[in-house]
């Protein structure tokens, strides 16, 4: 079992009445709320927290890409990953990832990932997200109805650019290049492992199974909803003869304390900040026509599931969020037990943990990172010993069964 720490690099200082006063945390979030001094602090604390997660025993550190929002301040996660490639020695550098449909030409992504792989010495995971509607359709103006086709073409180009030995010409619908000849090329051969973050589209399951990419279900609806999605993934996977849990990953918010009182005192307000402010997304930006395919819409309706966009809903409290499984909170023993159940129920070989989320301040984030890495993670590493992880960077550390590093 591999356990990685995921960081969203959120803006931690939105006003108390953000939800009441403002339309959306994404796309048209007012720019007057942005303070460069706060961002300076936020970026540097985030980099410190990522580095600290590597030091205290996580297997990998994850960053991701978002645009025009206060939810996650990393339009270029590659910049963070470049810093981490230098600041860490052995952990996997997991970029979750670059929205490959947004780059023209997409070999820009092939080049930057190759640089990161070379700088880090072969520790890169290349994430290829389709990207949220807010980021892609509204932030970057891509027609949601062509996004997936553009994504597929970009993926084909990037993989060929990494893997083919000779200069080639690429005549695509969205990209035409007379000469494709990548310098640098990735250090890992033939290429870094590819992880695909998804939010429940059935097409993504099929793609991951067909192409052998890792499927990472990233949502904040918690493990109870996550089970529905992962059951769908495993149904498709098993039909294709795939059952290796390392083929799949899942994201979970986690906080650790010694007792209930301490949990509430330390984490309740910050968790509520995350769910009530960071996910205050105007629904019209979350699901434009064509973003979800007809098959996904039909399947969703047939299954009577509803999600997408929380704006306009009631505010949630810490206790409600724990009950619903949106956040796993407790003593180290309680958290380990609950996560083990999540890992087994969802059948995942990679668990991505958010220890800093919402407005959790730097010192508390570090405490949560340390306690999770040292008191929870070692209790989970023994899982799935009978399977091999084919989705781990060739030169990243393997700590399965080793336990936590000393303080």
């Amino acid at each position: 079992m591999k356990i990685e720490m995921f960081h969203l690099c959120p803006y931690r200082d939105l006003p108390e009445d953000f939800r009441e006063q403002h339309h959306s945390v994404w796309v048209d979030v007012p720019r007057h709320l942005f303070d460069g001094e706060i961002a300076n602090r936020t970026y540097n604390q985030t980099l410190d927290e990522l580095k600290y997660a590597a030091e205290v025993g996580y297997d990998g550190i994850c960053v991701n890409e978002h645009h025009q929002n206060a939810y996650g301040l990393m339009p270029s996660p590659n910049i963070m990953a470049a810093a981490m490639s230098r600041e860490t020695e052995d952990v996997a550098i997991i970029v979750m990832g670059n929205s490959i449909a947004l780059y023209d030409p997409p070999i820009r992504v092939a080049e930057e990932f190759a640089m990161l792989d070379c700088i880090s010495g072969g520790r890169l995971v290349a994430g290829f997200p389709v990207g949220s509607a807010m980021d892609t359709a509204f932030g970057y103006g891509v027609n949601p109805a062509t996004l997936r086709e553009k994504y597929a073409e970009a993926e084909e180009l990037i993989l060929r650019a990494w893997e083919e030995d000779d200069v080639f010409a690429f005549d695509g619908k969205y990209t035409q290049l007379r000469y494709v000849n990548l310098w640098p090329r990735p250090l890992q051969k033939p290429r870094p492992p590819i992880w695909v973050p998804g939010a429940g589209s059935i097409e993504t399951w099929n793609t991951c199974i067909e192409k052998g990419h890792l499927y990472a279900y990233l949502s904040y609806s918690g493990f109870k909803r996550g089970k529905q999605v992962m059951d769908g993934f495993w149904k498709v996977a098993r039909a294709a003869g795939v059952d290796n849990p390392y083929h799949a990953g899942f994201l979970q918010l986690v906080c650790v304390a010694d007792n209930e009182q301490e949990l509430h005192d330390k984490y309740a307000a910050h968790t509520e900040y995350f769910f009530n402010k960071m996910l205050h997304i105007y629904p019209g930006f979350a699901d434009p026509p064509g973003y979800r395919t007809i098959d996904t819409i039909r399947a969703g309706l047939m299954a009577q599931t509803t999600s997408f966009g929380r704006a306009g809903q009631e505010e949630s409290t810490f206790d409600e969020l724990r009950d619903a499984g949106n956040v796993v909170a407790g003593t180290p023993g309680q958290v380990a037990d609950q996560l083990e159940q999540v890992i087994n129920d969802l059948r995942i070989g990679h668990l991505m943990i958010l220890n800093q989320f919402g407005s959790i301040p730097h010192d508390l984030a570090k405490e949560n990172i340390r306690r999770t890495a040292q008191e929870v993670v070692p209790k989970l590493r023994h899982l799935w010993p009978e399977y091999e992880d084919h989705w781990w960077p060739q030169n990243a550390v393997v700590r399965d069964n080793i336990g936590a590093m000393p303080e």
């Binding site: 949601p144 109805a145 699901d287 434009p288 064509g290 007809i294 309706l301 009577q304 509803t306």
Partner: protein, 271 residues
């Protein structure tokens, strides 16, 4: 009125065609909300054979996957008109269909005897932006489309089901009807997005001067989707067109004031 499906380009498209009335043919191109045999078409069919194709991607018309951009769409329509043997006909286009009509008339001016554009998309004025209809909440959309937000049609738009928040029971007939509605709407809106996303400007301003037939530019005074100021932008380039701003109407002026719109078209065609 008669409805039939006809294959175009060796069956790559299968297009619904509504036809009704008698007399010389008149081509009508529908808008973003789709095609129905409305009171306007019924009224125009007195004295004309109204021919109204349903654009691929809307309803049961197939082949939208063969169309990537406005140029593909124009040549699709030219193929359809060749196949139907339609030449020197009056053309009426509303909303998205108004944009198509302007593009068609600019591409083959001799094909059309008269051109009527009703609240067309196709131009962009940064000071008066076209509404972002793809992200609007349904009650806002209803107010932008209709002058009277209490009208039956406006209420239907405001309260339509939405895929992301509608609970349906697929075991029931109503549930199946809702699923069909939502799937149809997703298809037609993503088809519209090909021509309108993220800004409804595909370079028409560079071609619009080629539209030189006698024509009309008709706008609902309260149009909250494409503001009425665009009527002047169109008329500035289409020199043989006259502008008519219709009161008590918005983007759906074709449905809100069908008698007025039909009367204007009748007068144009009798010139």
């Amino acid at each position: 009125m008669n409805e039939r499906a006809i294959p175009v380009r060796n069956g790559r498209f299968e297009v619904d065609l509504l036809e009704g009335g008698s007399g010389d043919p008149l081509l009508f191109l529908h808008g973003v909300s789709g095609l129905e045999w409305t009171p306007l078409l019924e009224r125009l069919s007195v004295g004309h054979t109204v021919i109204a194709p349903r654009t691929p991607g809307f309803g049961e018309s197939t082949g939208t996957e063969n169309l990537d951009d406005i140029h593909d769409l124009v040549f699709f329509y030219l193929d359809l008109l060749d196949q139907l043997g339609l030449h020197e006909i009056p053309l009426v286009g509303h909303s998205l269909g108004g944009m198509f009509a302007a593009e068609l008339a600019a591409t083959q001016p001799d094909r059309f005897s008269h051109v009527t554009l009703v609240s067309p998309f196709g131009l962009w004025d940064e000071a008066n932006p076209v509404a972002d209809l793809f992200s609007m909440a349904l009650p806002d959309l209803a107010r932008a489309m209709y002058a009277n937000e209490k009208s039956e049609a406006a209420v239907a738009v405001a309260t339509a089901p939405q895929a992301r928040m509608t609970e349906v029971d697929p075991e029931t007939e109503t549930g199946q009807a809702t699923i069909k509605y939502l799937v149809d709407r997703a298809k037609s809106m993503s088809t519209a997005a090909k021509y309108l996303w993220p800004i409804p400007n595909r370079g028409l301003a560079k071609r619009l001067h080629r539209v030189r037939q006698p024509g009309l530019v008709i706008w609902g005074e309260c149009d909250g989707i494409v503001p009425p100021v665009y009527a002047e932008h169109f008329a500035a380039q289409i020199t043989n067109a006259t502008v008519h701003i219709v009161p008590d109407a918005a983007h759906m002026v074709v449905d809100e004031q069908p008698q007025i719109v039909a009367g204007l078209i009748d007068r144009l065609l009798s010139r």
